[in-house]
């Protein structure tokens, strides 16, 4: 059983090596899909093990999959599969040397995210999160234009400085554990209640670690790298970064929170995360109203959703099942949207919203899935994002954070209006008079991943067994009994 823990790490690494060795074979384009599948399958196996009451461990307790880790690794695999499969490159373009390093980096990126969610030591988790920055740096700059270079520079500088601050925080947490009997960075040991950790060090350490990982999660006011990086990267990379890398950083915040909660109580981080969450919603709302670029629009939407998730984390155990469901729903839908946006960019040749008009009449093959996914991202039922948002808001009300969720609700309405306006601008309306065209029913890429992502998000909220059980178990892992 413990061998499964190594598959999401070793599998993608082997595939990365294979991609570099394949020469000019067109088989290379399936490397990303194969790596995601390996992660997804091992994630599902771990979930079934966890549901049977096991907690797989390996490497002397270095790797560990409790309910939360098993769930997160499945999300990484699922979102990875949608992004890489949906953004499958053509056979011709996958023969180049550039494609070799591209596919290899995608596989490394998946392995780094898997390590981040499987590591028991928060130090190892930190190193894995930093490794995701390293793996994605060249992916963001993949197009080698001036703009993508600018985005990549900002991303690496801000990302590594943020994560360096998190390292300082982890250093303080370790310093707190040095004065006890067992110096450790193991998350499992640190979250035991009777260690007697020094509250001052844990406060400083927790605050810095959360601040650092919040930079990586794209929370305002440390979000400025996100719209640039997510809009300049190739579509599958944007899907992976927006859909799941941000959530992996949120996962790190959850782990840190469970340590600080035991020592100093939930109030301190609650204030920090509520402020960060509301600021993110505010930034997203104000910049979405006048947005002109549809890939940047999706990036700001990620800031919005991460903000609401951060508010959910601030609320605590009552909202955590909704937050975790949110991670899956947002990941799948955002990956779908980025994949479709990549196809629109390819056929229309412009990222500007006002240049893409009447898409529903001209290219129904792209516009129909785009409209459905847009409906899902702004929170229409039956898609699971709706239930997550409602769950977070209700939980906020019940624990006395009515003011925070009330303000969030107002900002969500503004964002809803902005999104609707931009989507209508792109899709509806009549094409210019006198322009001859034939309706284009082609999806310009595989249809199945998009269908799977939409179908999963539409149904997952109604599956109490095993999804609901798993989410409750994952919440219990974080010290909440709900």
């Amino acid at each position: 059983m413990s061998l499964i823990l190594w598959i999401p790490l070793v599998g993608p690494l082997a595939l990365a090596g294979l991609s570099l060795l394949l020469g000019t074979s067109a088989l290379r384009r399936f490397v990303g899909v194969a790596a995601s599948s390996a992660v997804l399958i091992s994630g599902l196996l771990l979930v079934s093990a966890v549901l049977n009451g096991a907690v797989p461990e390996s490497g002397g307790g270095m790797l560990r999959a409790d309910a939360l880790s098993a769930y997160m690794i499945s999300v990484v695999g699922a979102v990875g599969l949608i992004s890489t499969w949906g953004g499958l490159s053509s056979a011709a373009s996958s023969r180049t040397k550039d494609a070799a390093s591209y596919e290899a980096l995608i596989a490394l990126f998946l392995a780094a995210m898997s390590l981040a969610v499987l590591a028991d030591s928060i130090g190892l988790m930190w190193a894995a999160v930093e490794a995701t920055t390293i793996a994605t740096a060249f992916l963001v700059g993949h197009h080698r234009t001036g703009r993508s270079l600018e985005a990549a520079w900002k991303y690496v500088i801000l990302g590594s400085v943020g994560v360096a601050i998190a390292l300082l925080g982890i250093g303080f947490i370790y310093a707190a554990s040095v004065s006890t009997d067992t110096p450790t960075l193991s998350w499992l040991l640190l979250s035991q209640s009777d260690l007697g950790l020094d509250p001052a060090l844990i406060t400083a350490g927790g605050a810095l670690a959360v601040l650092g990982f919040a930079t990586k999660a794209g929370l305002a006011p440390m979000h400025s790298w996100l719209p640039d990086a997510h809009s300049q990267a190739p579509a599958p990379v944007s899907g992976l970064m927006s859909g799941v890398l941000l959530s992996v950083a949120l996962y790190a915040i959850l782990r840190i929170q469970s340590i600080t909660n035991l020592v100093i109580g939930p109030e301190f981080l609650r204030i920090m995360l509520s402020v960060g969450g509301l600021l993110s919603l505010l930034v997203a709302a104000s910049l979405l109203i006048r947005q002109r670029d549809y890939k940047r629009m999706l990036a700001y939407s990620s800031i919005e959703h991460m903000g609401l998730m951060a508010i959910g984390v601030a609320i605590g155990p009552a909202a955590l099942p909704s937050v975790l469901l949110y991670v899956l729903g947002h990941g799948l839908i955002k990956a779908t949207l980025f994949v479709i946006s990549g196809r629109i960019l390819k056929v229309e040749g412009t990222p500007v919203i006002s240049d893409v008009r009447a898409l529903l009449v001209r290219r129904p093959g792209l516009a129909v899935p785009w409209l459905i996914a847009m409906a899902a991202i702004v929170g229409f039922p039956p898609f699971s994002i709706f239930f997550s948002e409602v769950g977070i808001i209700m939980a906020g009300w019940s624990v006395g954070l009515g003011g925070v969720v009330g303000a969030a609700l107002v900002l969500l309405l503004v964002i809803f209006a902005a999104f609707t306006r931009l989507t209508v601008q792109m899709t509806l309306g009549a094409p210019p008079v006198g322009l001859a065209f034939t309706p284009d029913y082609s999806a310009h890429g595989p249809r199945l991943p998009i269908f799977l992502a939409l179908a999963t998000t539409a149904t997952v909220a109604f599956v109490a067994e095993p999804v609901g059980t798993l989410l409750l178990q994952a919440t219990a892992v974080l010290g909440g009994t709900n």
């Binding site: 520079w153 360096a164 982890i170 960075l185 001052a200 947005q291």
Partner: protein, 219 residues
């Protein structure tokens, strides 16, 4: 014998760390900054070695060798890896003049002493007394990151920040487990290599490495 000079050695190393950081803010030549960075790496390695010998931990001595090779030799070599003639001419034109910058360094150092003594208490160990130096280095690193315009000068700011974090970690907890220390060093090394490659691409793309030119993406 060693007990007597131990506090002095800690003080000496910490002083060298702070001095090199302050000098980096003062000097505008890229080559001088890189040399100071190498000195800082050596001082950090010495600090770790002193702590290791004092506590009798051979693991820390190995870590100090690792730091010496990565931060004292490896990274400065990567940064200076360009023809000597051209690198000598590279002058930074920072947003702050030297006087204002050095004044800011003083304020930041005082600030970090106040913060550390208020939040944690300085304690009575010699390492505890030196801990504010690490925080001052982190803040000076931020200052360099914000005030410098060239890609590689910003990179040096990032490295000072990182050295500061390492200083704090070693002074407060005697360093993290050695396996993680390897992972951290590797991560920093790779980030610097990546940024170095990007700086090279910027030079070919824009004909210079002034980060000010990166203004195309905005809302």
């Amino acid at each position: 014998m060693f007990e007597n000079i131990y506090p002095q050695l800690i003080g000496l190393c910490a002083g060298a760390l702070l001095l090199t950081s302050a000098l980096m803010v003062w000097r505008h030549s890229l080559l001088a900054s890189i040399r100071l960075l190498a000195l800082q790496g050596i001082a950090l390695a010495a600090l770790v070695a002193v702590i290791g010998i004092a506590e009798g931990e051979s693991e820390l001595v190995i870590v100090s060798l690792l730091i010496l090779s990565v931060k004292g030799i490896g990274l400065p070599w990567v940064l200076a890896h360009q023809s000597k003639a051209s690198i000598k001419q590279i002058q930074e034109s920072p947003r702050l003049n030297p006087t204002a910058a050095l004044l800011t360094v003083t304020v930041l150092t005082i600030l970090s002493y106040i913060v550390v003594s208020r939040v944690f208490g300085l304690g009575d160990s010699s390492t505890g007394h030196a801990a504010p130096i690490g925080l001052a280095m982190v803040l000076i690193g931020f200052l360099l990151l914000i005030s410098r315009r060239r890609a590689r000068s910003q990179l040096i700011g990032f490295l000072v920040l990182d050295n500061g974090i390492a200083t704090i970690t070693f002074l407060t907890s005697g360093g993290v487990p050695i396996l993680l220390e390897f992972a951290f060093s590797l991560d920093v090394l790779l980030v610097v290599l990546i940024l170095h490659v990007f700086a090279g691409r910027m030079r070919t793309k824009f004909g210079g490495t002034a980060v000010d030119q990166l203004r195309e993406l905005h809302d």
